[in-house]
Symmetry: C2
Subunit: 195 residues, 2 copies
DNA sequence: GTCTATAGGCAGATAGAC
DNA sequence: GTCTATCTGCCTATAGAC
């Protein structure tokens, strides 16, 4: 993991890549070490060398996913767009997940929440909390500069956006219908546009 | 199943009751025949007598769930309330699911969609289709009588409501926070209220 | 309709050689 | 860091007695 490895091709990273896709498409209870091993052409024992337990693998998965999500939020902030455009860019993160025919990693894990070990549970809640905090900030900016009009508190509107987008992903995926998602997302954001 | 059984206490019915709760809380891949058998105090073999395969059990589960959902929609219609009140009653079906600390059965299965056998997949899509059709009707009534104001088509607004409520359930459940759901649901419906 | 017994497979995980 | 081999336990499902 350290040193000058070929960054994206070491076994640990490739394991995370495959496991991430499997969780996002099949759920944490819908794949096994054997699935990953077969796809990478290694044995299950090798995987256990890098991630001692499935719980540890899951924790690492969320951590990397949240970190990348955080980076994308930082890029949106750095772009300096107006609040409505920031919200659209936020929704487009979700759209890109669906175009990959995946569910949001943490949305999927939220469904399985009751079956998951404690370290994973905590990480899921932190992920949603971060999104909600970032959205609340954007919504407050928009209210301040007059580009957005909120009906409830920034916190509550932020929560409605997160859950609205997660639900749009959840339902659109069985239909394999990106338009279905786009329409729901647009309707979600439209109501915040200033009159 | 037929005859004059004590309606709600025969093994088939009790199996459906327990399995339904397990799917709604843990997912289809998160429980086993052994879990149900232990809770009912019978053996796994007995369960297989009533539901030969887990797939058959799942199909029966959705069928009963959809039928009961259909009945509740019928009751709302029979109540003769105005469209905005009908929407609130619809959202309250979801709230009652969350109060039971459950996810919508079909929302849970939507997450696991890719891992599910074909008969179950079909039943999930039919469930969402029915809700969307019913909602589109209510929304059109509301637009006609002036009690609701739609921004998009009735079909699209209906879809946004279904996915918005499913997402609100999905995210609120890990937080075990009914208020979180209520707030998101209210915000979802408020924007349809006539000016 | 429920039971005992069991088949056959896959799960997550570990020991120890290389 | 990857392998072979193996453990233990659970999974869905079936056969056949009662």
């Amino acid at each position: 993991m350290a040193r000058a490895q070929a960054a994206n091709t070491d076994t640990a990273t490739r394991t995370l890549d495959v496991a991430e896709r499997l969780v996002q498409t099949r759920g944490f209870n819908g794949f096994s070490y054997a699935d990953i091993a077969a796809e990478l052409g290694v044995t299950k024992a090798s995987l256990h060398y890098h991630f001692a337990s499935k719980t540890e693998l899951g924790r690492a998965l969320i951590e990397r996913y949240a970190e990348r999500f955080r980076e994308r939020l930082g890029q949106i902030d750095a772009g300096g767009a107006a609040p409505p455009a920031k919200l659209a860019a936020y929704a487009d993160i979700y759209a890109s997940v669906l175009r990959d025919r995946r569910m949001c990693l943490c949305g999927m894990l939220a469904a399985e929440y009751e079956t998951l070990p404690e370290p994973i549970r905590e990480a899921i809640l932190r992920f949603f909390d971060e999104s909600e905090t970032w959205l609340a900030d954007v919504l407050e900016q928009g209210e301040a500069d007059g580009s957005l009009r909120l009906q409830g508190s920034a916190r509550d509107e932020g929560r409605a956006i997160v859950s609205g987008l997660e639900g749009a992903l959840l339902v659109a995926r069985p239909y394999a219908d990106v338009d279905r998602f786009e329409t729901a997302a647009a309707s979600l954001l439209k109501r915040l546009a200033a009159a």
